[in-house]
Symmetry: C2
Subunit: 361 residues, 2 copies
């Protein structure tokens, strides 16, 4: 069973995943993430469903069998979970140290049956179904009173921590509100207390006025390079409508979100020659997602530089590409000229929409 | 001139180093830190002193010339500084955003004239002189009222962000107290308020009692794997004597510090087959280093795994090697059997000690 341990100085929680326990020889080579799945059977490809734990839900063609082919989105438990879904949440102290058993959820959202078709090049309706998949899992896990926060994220490329190439996202639900999430929520509350406005709504206003850090926008979403970007080409997607929870999105907004996500990932792809990246959805903790304090959004971090001793010791990042330069580069990409003609996907032809995911709870 | 920009939500500062400004083509290859100095003239080797900016100080043989050979420790400004030493500190607001010009210091401590002799294999007296070099620069920069904190750190290996192989450490002085430093200081104060004891002194006591996370100790220093280690084989060196500032170290303690640092880096070297790592010295901000609140220490982070979307979105790290397992592995290393016989270095034969660095201010 994994454990959660708390730093007695900073209060930060750490997951000690003892099942995955690694001895020194397992780190030989020192090339983090050097494990590649090339040449091995991909557990996420259709026909190999038995290589994953049994599926939690899927969007599938009528008549297809659970844990068999015929799906276009498939959600399974992580085979090597950071946190485990079974058992009660126990807390204890060991002398001065605080401990919790590692209760939580760790799931994989397989985004397409096609092994080589990456997210920016999926049909927009397929991207939309990925997002509906995120939402369905969020709403289901939110019912579990042991879970305080649900993070949805994507690692792309080995340098960004992806160990399997088949397109997938991940979800981790934690029994604590993570420090980073608490810091953003507190920051938004502090700003609201001082100015009686939402900090993210103010960012949207100022960025729309200035324009220099804008990347793109549509009816419902804005993509921009944040003023204090930690990483070169760090990009945020913000919904124009204020709201704490990404799960409260409307069908029309979801379509716009999918279109903007696909577009921005394409711009990054062509601008930076297929960079490794992480993205994660910043949404309020489960207990705060119906309050007014937060403004959910998505952050993309291309992994072009290395955080080293200075960043680790101070928390201050050195960004060698001003966000104004990055925004200009991303805006300049001519997607019509750069992108191959999008094919209609052969699966996913029936959009399950908001109401009709073929879910196996 | 570099700038400091503040995240309007979290309050975190970011350095935007516009001189280093990178366009997309500069990131081609996406192998962070893939630049190697192999085959190029090393600017840190004796005889190449003209390839660095003029030296700030050096420990040198009597009669040798400034910016020429004959040194055994040499400190120079970073040629591509993250922060610049010139100019007044200016602060401004741009709409909702907070800004400062990037005043600070960024120096390189060249640890030995020998290109291929890494820190763990230097003579203990040479390591001691590296530490005296750290201290001399700290005390000099502390006089500058613009500077609020001084971080001393070391990046080893390309994966850990080192772009030059010649053994060196770095120092960055910032005009703000960094968030990570503030969090530790606040944590220590919170603990003291609640329990009227130092949290680090309590850690030392509990770890000495339990023993399972201890790596080594001598008269003045303890090396241990912290209870809530974020990284596999994360190792802390703590002075037994409580004190906020590493600059208040005695000559006897410095000898013990150098011996323990060399020993622990050797244990990591042999246990993990020469891993990349970062270390940094956690010392109180300049304005707090004569108060009683903090307990300075050194943290070593081997870079064996990748922080990915989950860590970036939550601040919660997943550590796949329990610190108890790591401590046992590190204790088991037989340094007598593993290490080559230490040679006396030919330079550095005169220990300048606490009083006598041949400094060029």
């Amino acid at each position: 069973m994994p454990e959660l341990r708390r730093d007695p100085v900073t209060g930060e929680w750490v997951v000690v995943a003892s099942e995955r326990s690694r001895r020194p020889s397992d780190f030989a080579g020192h090339s983090p993430g050097h494990h590649s799945d090339e040449g091995e059977t991909c557990p996420f490809c259709p026909g190999n469903e038995s290589l994953t734990p049994p599926e939690i839900m899927a969007f599938r063609q009528p008549g297809s069998q659970r844990n068999g082919p015929g799906w276009w989105i498939r959600v399974v438990p992580n085979k090597f979970p950071a946190l485990a879904i079974e058992g009660d949440l126990n807390k204890a102290g060991f002398g001065m140290y605080d401990w919790m058993n590692g209760v939580g959820a760790h799931e994989i959202i397989i985004e397409t049956p096609e092994h080589d078709k990456q997210l920016p090049f999926l049909d927009t309706r397929q991207v939309e179904d990925v997002l509906w998949g995120y939402r369905a899992r969020y709403l289901d896990l939110k019912k579990d009173p042991r879970l305080k926060h649900i993070l949805i994220f994507r690692n792309y490329g080995r340098v960004a921590g992806a160990s399997l190439a088949h397109p997938h996202s991940q979800l981790v639900a934690t029994p604590v509100v993570p420090g980073q999430v608490a810091a953003e929520l507190e920051g938004a509350r502090r700003y609201r207390e001082y100015r009686d406005r939402c900090v993210y709504c103010d960012i949207l206003r100022q960025e729309a006025d200035e324009g220099v850090r804008l990347v793109s926008q549509n009816d419902h979403f804005v993509a921009l390079e944040p003023y204090a970007a930690k990483y070169p080409f760090e990009t945020w997607l913000l919904p124009k409508r204020h709201g704490a929870s990404f799960a409260a999105i409307s069908a029309e907004e979801q379509t716009a979100f999918a279109a903007m996500l696909g577009e921005v990932l394409q711009r990054l792809h062509f601008c930076l020659d297929d960079p490794p990246y992480n993205y994660n959805i910043h949404t309020a903790p489960c207990g705060d997602d119906e309050k007014d304090d937060f403004h959910w959004h998505l952050q993309i971090f291309p992994r072009l530089t290395i955080a080293a001793g200075f960043e680790m010791g101070t928390g201050i990042y050195i960004n060698i590409t001003p966000p104004e330069v990055a925004a200009e580069c991303l805006r300049e990409i001519d997607l019509q000229a750069a992108a191959p003609v999008r094919e209609e996907t052969t699966v996913g032809s029936e959009n399950p929409g908001e109401q009709a995911p073929t879910s196996h709870p």
